[in-house]
Symmetry: C2
Subunit: 109 residues, 2 copies
Amino acid sequence: MSRFATTPKPPYYAVIFTNQRTPGDNGYDAMGEAMASLAMTQAGCFGIESTRDKNGLGITVSYWQDEASIAAWRANAEHAVARARGNSTWYAHYELRVAKVERAYNGPK
Amino acid sequence: MSRFATTPKPPYYAVIFTNQRTPGDNGYDAMGEAMASLAMTQAGCFGIESTRDKNGLGITVSYWQDEASIAAWRANAEHAVARARGNSTWYAHYELRVAKVERAYNGPK
């Protein structure tokens, strides 16, 4: 399965989540997989790109049709439970940015 | 040194570069470090967040004041040389998206 998201012609939205994990798994990997699968079933979700290095620095970018689809995902009850555990347990620090994609390219050329 | 970018209050721009490396280094690591250092000296560059997993899937997000600062970086001659090598040698596939950051948060809460 491709680790690249299949996105339409812009405009669409990106949620950029950069995060540093705390040590230990503490149920993170299973929840992460469950949340990625659940997000992909949400209306307006185009896909997710995610990676993390051996030092625990991760970047996950999810792509959405519009602000309404992002808001609906935020209101999902299972996602809210996962976010609470993220705040209490899994993340030493995170930055979350919501951005409107205006232009997109791919390659190599 | 923090691996998180220090960004101002939105709006500002994000360049999201998701990429799959080809096998072998082929000069990539040295060039990557040089390009990150050079980008940070450019007017309007707020910072870079970057990570890559053991399977070679990387995400680098650079943050910029406006479209003009992104265009100036694109026109940089050393950056152009690096991009050419990226296309010829280093990347099996990449997706590049330019997005306007509208909202931003951090945590944990």
